[in-house]
């Protein structure tokens, strides 16, 4: 039986840290959003929304971002992370509740039949560019 071995040599490298690949994406998407006529600007801040359930550690992300941003318009930029709570909607009573402890049940009726409304975000909201 033939085994096809495929090497993933065309993907961004994770370099053994999950957040590295994410940091690379953030830098790439930020640079792509800068209008052509403003290409020599310095980005001061990148605003992210990261859900509490997302598999991202903010400290690791900042560490990786600082490395990846070096020698780009984002060099020295601050990574601002807004943490989004886990909010669920109950399919039984329709109420929304915030999941604070690790128990995924409706806060009103304790049903386990819930839908996650927020808390899994990994979004880049905006970048802030130095004036002048």
């Amino acid at each position: 039986m033939k085994i096809w071995a495929v090497s993933d040599d065309f993907a961004p490298r994770c370099l053994k840290m999950h957040e590295m690949g994410i940091a690379m994406q953030i830098v790439e998407m930020s640079i792509a959003s800068i209008p052509e006529e403003m290409k020599n600007v310095q980005v001061e801040r990148v605003n992210l929304k990261v859900g509490k359930l997302a598999a991202v550690i903010p400290g690791s992300l900042r560490f990786c971002f600082d490395i990846v941003a070096k020698d780009t318009p984002l060099s020295g930029a601050k990574l601002h992370i807004e943490e989004i709570p886990v909010i669920v909607k109950c399919n039984e009573c329709n109420k929304e509740s915030v999941i604070k402890e690790l128990s995924f049940k409706c806060g009103a009726c304790s049903s386990g039949s819930i839908e996650i409304l927020s808390g899994r975000e990994l979004d880049i909201e905006s970048i802030e560019i130095a004036d002048g």
Binding site: I3, V6, R13, S33, A54, L122, I124, I127
Partner: protein, 226 residues
């Protein structure tokens, strides 16, 4: 000056995953993403699962590991076509992404496959974030790992459709609280189907196999499959 972007960081992966999903639907292939920490018994479970169902269901496997083709060689012994993805020769990606799956499928004749199993890289963190276009996700937890794993990795247990509690043959020799492990899984994901199995002893596979077959029937809208 603020420039609005408002995009998901994993946008590119999500778009690719959706394209994969459409391709698999068009080809009539059910895709099962199997995830766990390293050493929980994924490969043995899949060896036994595929051997059990191959007479009725055409299977293929994509195996993700950072290094080696060891798991692919074992799974090839079942007779199913196997593609091994090594994420880096010297250590690299800790998960499989959608574009990697798409690339790997070019080595499989999907027209003759009913069930494509993806044995993801052993990791309870990152694979949970990366949609690959699958129809169902399962997480494997073994009784040698600690009852509180679900609480430590809530996203993984939240996004999966079923859990396999493996190595149950070792319970008589361990100080393991099986009820606590199950309670913890259900705390994170109430009503999650949990299949208690021993892959090495081939015990407990009946309900797990039935679950797979039912999911296939739901998607492929037919039975038998061959």
């Amino acid at each position: 000056m603020e420039i609005k972007i408002v995009r998901k960081v994993l946008d590119v992966n999500e778009k690719m995953a959706q394209e994969n999903r459409e391709m698999f639907s068009e080809k009539g292939v059910f895709v099962l993403n199997v995830m766990s920490s390293p050493g929980s018994g994924k490969t043995t479970i899949l060896e036994k699962t595929i051997s059990s169902i191959m007479s009725e269901i055409n299977c293929a496997v994509i195996v993700g590991d950072i290094c080696t083709t060891n798991d692919a060689e074992r799974l090839a012994g079942t007779g199913a076509p196997v593609v091994q993805v090594n994420t880096d020769e010297f250590g690299g990606d800790c998960h499989l992404a959608a574009h990697v799956i798409e690339n790997a499928t070019r080595n499989i004749d999907l027209d003759s496959v009913h069930l494509l199993i993806v044995e993801n890289v052993g990791n309870l963190v990152c694979p949970a974030e990366f949609d690959i276009g699958e129809d169902a996700r399962v997480v494997v937890l073994s009784v040698t790992e600690g009852e509180d794993k679900p609480l430590k990795y809530p996203l993984m247990f939240r996004v999966c459709d079923a859990a396999l509690l493996n190595k149950t043959d070792l319970l008589p020799y361990l100080d393991y609280n099986r009820e606590s492990a199950i309670d913890n899984i259900l705390q994170i994901h109430p009503d999650m189907p949990i299949f208690e199995i021993s892959a090495t002893k081939s015990e407990g596979f009946g309900p797990w196999i039935d679950w797979i077959k039912n999911r296939l029937k739901e998607k492929l809208n037919r039975s038998p499959f061959k």
